[in-house]
Symmetry: C2
Subunit: 168 residues, 2 copies
Amino acid sequence: MTIQEARLSFIQTWGALGSAWGIPRSMAQIHALLLTTHKDLSTEDVMQEIQLSRGNVNINMRELINWNLVKKQHKLGERKEFFTADKNIWSIAQNIVTERKRRELIPVHDMIKELKQTKLDGPKDEVKHFETLLKDLEEFVVQMDKLSEMAIKLNKNVLFKNMMKMLS
Amino acid sequence: MTIQEARLSFIQTWGALGSAWGIPRSMAQIHALLLTTHKDLSTEDVMQEIQLSRGNVNINMRELINWNLVKKQHKLGERKEFFTADKNIWSIAQNIVTERKRRELIPVHDMIKELKQTKLDGPKDEVKHFETLLKDLEEFVVQMDKLSEMAIKLNKNVLFKNMMKMLS
DNA sequence: ACAAACTTTCATTATTTTTTGAAAGTTTAA
DNA sequence: TTAAACTTTCAAAAAATAATGAAAGTTTGT
């Protein structure tokens, strides 16, 4: 298999995975392409390599930059902008986790907190059941948050790896 | 606020969250509805409460059953089927993690393993870079898998909670 | 100031995903 | 065996999401 074929196959799979996790296919594909190459790529390069329109590349590249997964590069003597992906897999994971937390975990937590503060009218047992649900959910959200922090902080850490071993 | 309003608000938010994570809105809403009530509900009940078509409820309920989040109940003297959600938040989380792992983590891991076994033709440095990427990704996938196992096993466990405290 | 080189925007189009609902299928009780 | 009560299926419609590409905007060098 040529390296080109391997790349394409990787890009396809990564795109499908992104799609399943609510990340636009093109965004995931662009990210995958940048991951597979050491060279910095221009918008034109990306368009050509994975057959996307200029607008699409532009918009999704900006999003990747927002997520801190990609950086702009300026080449001496070149007018074009080039792009390069962070290649450290743990830092990639950290940025993705942070971003999704901000977008999804926090809004849910806010809703839970708000409902918890609200006095609910209705049959006593129903109110009780609902309040228990809210309590359980909040505990869960808080634990997930801690777990993600922990995973981020300790991913490369010896203590963490030993703990893993200890617990598996 | 009435308990009915609170429920609706919860169902809406849960539906939106599901949507962001690649789970059909209706499926998440049905799940949320079942979580908010102690009573077992029939298809008809669900259709009425969140305004969904019969087919939609039927299909998504089946999916919830596949995910082990919901169980069928038969009531004595009733011909209809009723449905009830698992109310234990940790067991819910476990089932979701297991299911998503099966659907997304494993296929990606398989792709990585396959590419790793393949002899790649191309410029030496490009091949090297790509192989490093594969190695890093595989390590990552394996660690994620371990982390999810750990989270599942230890969620209610005292040792785990103390560890969390220790590390935060 | 001009124009070439490049980037960004956004209304429109295309694609994908989800939902509908009526028809077909199944089960149960008499 | 029949028919009422209920469940399942799936082709078609609707809704949501993503992609296109041409035009507008910006920057840079002369």
